[in-house]
Symmetry: C2
C-alpha cells in the first residue's frame, strides 16, 4: 500500500506527530467515539513494556495492585468540594440500563435511581473503601495501585497525549502522618523520574505545581516535566499530597498509637498512555518513529539480502538461525523474509516503526562471518551518509546488546543536550515575550510574584504557563528576585513553557 | 481482629464460598455500585498470575494485544440482530457528559446526540475497525487480543462468578476462510483447556453449546466446563465461531487471491475474572482458600518459632536468609516475623489465604539443618493428624519446588477423581430427576432430542441445563439413543448439570 510521506517537523510539527504515529501503526483516532482512540498492536506493545517496568518498581516500593469499580456514584464526586469542581465538566454519566426498541429504533430503557460517573480518577471510590478497611495504625500505611481505564470528556484531543478514554495506573496510599505521606509523594515522583530517564531516555525536571495547576482536591502536586522537540513541555507524571482532604470527605479514620482517632493522610500518583505520546514526540525524526531500546517491542530486525535462489535459501536460513541465537540472549528479533518486497522498502518500513537496529545479511557476510548493522539513528560519515557498522557473527548477541545500550544512552544524551540548549534564564518581560512568539517555546526560568492573577496574566499574554516550581537542584540556584511581569518580589525562579 | 469462622460447605455451600473469599481477602462486594466488586490485592494477584500465563500462550499462538474504546455507539449494537437481542437488557448506557449544580444538587448537564453503551463485549466496535484495517487476503489472518473491563447489568450477582463489571480478555480474529476460522476456534479452546488443567489444576470437558446457550451472534460456541465441589458446572471459557455474521454487519471484506471481494470469517474467545472464582470454588475447603501453586501469589510462608530472645534473633535471621535463597530459586516467599502474634494464629491465617506450603523454623531445626514443612492439604497420618514433613536445609529450593509440583498435581488429580465419581450416564427420566433434586447436581450424560423446546422443558423441570455437546473423547462414546424426556431419537449423549 503506497503511503504518503511523513510531514517534516519543520513544516508542521503537529502533523508530523500524527504522521509518525500513523506510519508506525501505533494508534488511530476512533472517530465514532468522541475523543477516543484505538491503540494498535505496535503502540500497545510499547505500553506493555512501560507497564511491566513500572509495575516492578511499584512492587519493589511495597505497593500492591487492586481493582475498584469503574462506575462511581454521582454523590461521591460531590463529597470533596475542590475535586468535583475540577472534574464536573469532564465526566461521562451513566443514567440508564438496558435498551428497548421503540418504533424500530433502539432507545434507553430503565433510568437509574442515582446516575454513575465513569471514573475520571478514583480518589472518591477508593476513599469509600479505605474507610472500611482502615481501623487502626496497624492497618497503615496502606499502599495500593490500580491499572485501569479512565475517561475525561476533553474538548481538544490528540492521540495519546489527550484522549477521552485513556489507560493509566493510579497509586492510592493512606498514612498515619503527613510527614510519611509527603515521603511517599517524593518517593513515587523519584520512581517516575527514574523510569522516564532510564527507560524512556527522557530527561525530566522535578517540581511542584502552582495552586492553579494543582490536582483538584490535593494540598500539593509534584510533577516531572519533559521537553519536546518544539521546546514545549509535557507533564509526564504527577504525585499528589492529598493531605486529609479525602480522609475527611470519606471519613477515613484510624486509631493512633495513643488510642485517639485521626483522619488518615493520603497520596495519589499516576502516569498514563500519554507517556507513549511523550516518547514518540521526544525522540522521533522525519523518517518516523525512534524508540529507546528499553521500550522497543522489536530490538533488531534482520533483513536477508540475496539475488539468486541459492543465496536466498542460504541467507534466509542463516537469518532465522541468528535470530534464534539472539532471542536466547534476550533480544526481541524480527526476521523480515517477505518475498516480493525489496530490501530498501523493508528498511524504510522498519525505520518508520522505530526498530533500533537493522541487521543486513548477505552471502558475503556469511562467508566473512560478519553482519552489517545500521542503528536507527546512525552517526553520519564524512561522505554525508549514515554509518553502517560491521560486527562479527561470533557473540553477536553480546555486541548487539552493547549497541542497544549505547543507543539508549545516546537518545537520553541527545534529549538532554537539546533541553540544555533550549533552556534559558530570563529577567525581563521583553526577553520573556521574545521567547514565546507564535510557535516558539523554550524552558524559561524566570521570577514570578507567586499570585494566580499574575500566572494567568502571563498565560493570557504569551500562552506560556508555569510548569513547576523546581525542586532543589532541578533549576538555577534559588535566589530572590523580581517578578518579570509585575516586578513584585519573588523567592525563586520558576519554570515557564508552553505545554501539551 | 476476631473473625467469625468459615461456614462449612456441608452447612451452606454458597455462604462457604463467600466466607472463603472474605477470609482470604480476595474481594468484596462494592455495595455502592450495583452488582460490582472490589478485587482486593490477594485476589488481584491471582488474576495477574492468570493474565501472565494466558498472555504468554496468546502470543505464542501469534496474537497481538490492542485496545479499543470502552464506549460503543448505541447504533453499532443494533447492526447484528442476534447480538443486540442477547445484550440489550444488560448494557449500561452513557447518555450525558458533565455535571452541574441545580438547587445545590449535582445533576447531569449535556445530553449526548447519540448515547453510548459501556462495552458488554467488543465484537461490534472491533468489527468497525477491522473493516478499516482489512483490505486484502494479505491482511489476514488478523489476530488480536484485548485485556479490558466489560460491564453487564446482571440481576443476580456473585463475587467473581457473575459481577456487573468484570475483567477479561477477548480475542478477536478475522480469517480468509471458514475452515481457518474454525481451526482458530479449536486452537484457542485448546489453549483454555491447557491453561485450566495445567495452571488452575482444573479438569475440564470440551464441548459445543446448544443453539440456546450460544453466544449472541455466533454460528457456534465451544466451551470448557468444570465441575465444582457441589457437582454443579462452571463454564470456564468460550470460543466462538462468528461465521460471517459480524463481517456482514460491519462490512468487513477482503479481496481474495482470485481478486474477488468476500466477507471475512471471524472468531472471538474469552475468559474472565470468573476464573478466580472457579479456582476458589474447585479447590478450597472448610479451612479456607486452597490454591494451586502455579496461581499462588505466595508459594511458601516461613514462620520462625522461638521462646527466648536469643532464639528469636537466631530464627528470624535464619528465616530471612532462607527466604532469600528460595527467592533466588524463583519461589515467592513470605517471612511472617510479626511479634505479638502466636505461631498457631499465623498458621491459621496463611491457611485461610491458601499458601501451599508452610515452613516452620525453630532452634532445633537450625541445629539439625532441617526444616519442618506442612502442605496446605497434608496427607493424614494414622493418628488422624495432618502430616508434617522434614526437609534438609541444603537445596531446600529444589525440594520445595518438588513439593509444590506434587501439590499442583495432587489438586488436579483430586478434582479429576471427584468429577469422575460424580459423573454418570443416565437413560431414564426417573434416574435423571433423582440426580437433580433440590440441591443436587452431578455431571449427567444423557440423550436429548436436539430441540430447544425439550432443552427448556428439562431446565424448567430440574434446573439442569445442557452444558455442552461433548467433543469426541470428552464424554461417553457417541452412540444413538432416545431422549430422556421425549423419547425422540438422539445422535449422542450430551452433558447436563446445574450450573453457575
Amino acid at each position: 500500500m503506497a503511503e504518503a510521506r511523513i510531514t517534516p517537523r519543520s513544516q508542521d510539527y503537529s502533523q508530523w506527530y500524527q504522521d509518525v504515529i500513523q506510519h508506525a501503526g501505533l494508534a488511530e483516532a476512533a472517530e465514532v467515539v468522541r475523543g477516543c482512540m484505538v491503540i494498535k498492536p505496535h503502540g500497545y506493545a510499547i505500553w506493555e513494556k512501560m507497564q511491566a517496568d513500572l509495575d516492578r518498581r511499584f512492587k519493589a516500593t511495597g505497593h500492591q495492585n487492586a481493582y475498584f469499580p469503574m462506575l462511581i456514584p454521582l454523590s461521591f464526586l460531590a463529597k470533596e468540594a475542590a475535586h468535583v469542581q475540577g472534574f464536573a465538566m469532564e465526566v461521562a454519566v451513566v443514567t440508564h440500563s438496558g435498551l428497548k426498541a421503540v418504533d424500530g429504533k433502539l432507545v434507553v430503557k430503565n433510568e437509574l435511581e442515582e446516575p454513575y460517573v465513569v471514573r475520571p480518577t478514583s480518589e472518591t471510590i477508593i476513599g469509600h473503601f479505605f474507610a472500611k478497611w482502615i481501623d487502626s495504625y496497624r492497618d497503615l500505611p496502606l499502599l495500593i495501585n490500580q491499572w485501569a481505564n479512565v475517561m475525561r470528556w476533553e474538548l481538544r484531543t490528540r492521540l495519546f497525549l489527550r484522549t477521552g478514554e485513556f489507560l493509566w495506573q493510579e497509586g492510592h496510599t493512606a498514612h498515619a502522618s503527613h510527614e510519611e505521606a509527603k515521603e511517599e509523594v517524593s518517593r513515587m515522583l523519584d520512581v517516575y523520574r527514574d523510569f522516564a530517564q532510564e527507560i524512556m531516555a527522557l530527561p525530566v525536571i522535578q517540581g511542584v505545581k502552582t495552586a492553579n495547576e494543582r490536582f483538584a482536591g490535593a494540598v500539593e502536586t509534584q510533577c516531572i516535566e519533559a521537553m519536546m522537540q518544539d521546546g514545549k513541555a509535557l507533564q509526564a507524571g504527577t504525585s499528589h499530597d492529598l493531605g486529609q482532604n479525602f480522609g475527611k470527605a470519606f471519613d477515613v479514620t484510624f486509631q493512633n498509637t495513643a488510642g485517639v482517632r485521626e483522619h488518615v493522610w493520603q497520596t495519589s500518583w499516576g502516569v498514563s498512555t500519554r507517556l507513549v505520546g511523550a516518547v514518540v514526540m521526544a525522540h522521533s525524526d522525519d523518517d518516523g518513529l525512534v524508540l529507546p531500546p528499553k521500550l522497543a517491542p522489536i530490538h533488531v530486525v534482520i533483513v536477508p539480502i540475496y539475488k539468486t535462489d541459492a543465496e536466498k535459501a542460504q541467507t534466509v536460513e542463516a537469518a532465522h538461525r541468528i535470530a534464534k541465537e539472539l532471542r536466547d540472549d534476550g533480544l526481541a528479533v524480527k526476521v523480515d523474509d517477505r518475498e516480493n518486497v525489496r530490501p530498501g522498502e523493508k528498511y524504510y518500513e522498519w525505520e518508520r516503526k522505530g526498530v533500533p537496529v537493522r541487521v543486513e545479511l548477505g552471502p558475503r557476510d556469511l562467508q566473512s562471518q560478519t553482519v552489517m548493522i545500521k542503528r536507527r539513528i546512525a552517526p553520519i560519515e564524512p561522505n554525508g551518509k549514515p554509518k553502517k557498522e560491521t560486527l562479527p557473527m561470533k557473540d553477536l548477541g553480546v555486541s548487539l546488546g552493547k549497541v542497544l545500550d549505547e543507543f539508549q544512552a545516546f537518545l537520553f544524551q541527545r534529549a538532554l543536550e537539546f533541553r540544555q540548549k533550549n533552556t534559558i534564564t530570563v529577567d525581563s518581560w521583553k526577553d520573556f515575550t521574545d521567547v514565546f512568539t507564535d510557535q516558539g517555546s523554550k524552558f524559561v526560568f524566570a521570577h514570578w510574584d507567586g499570585t494566580t492573577a499574575t500566572e494567568l496574566a502571563i498565560k493570557e499574554a504569551t500562552k506560556a504557563t508555569i510548569r513547576c516550581i523546581p525542586l532543589a537542584g532541578q533549576g538555577p540556584a534559588a535566589e530572590p528576585g523580581k517578578c518579570i511581569k509585575t516586578g513584585a518580589p519573588s523567592a525563586q525562579r520558576v519554570l515557564f513553557a508552553k505545554n501539551y
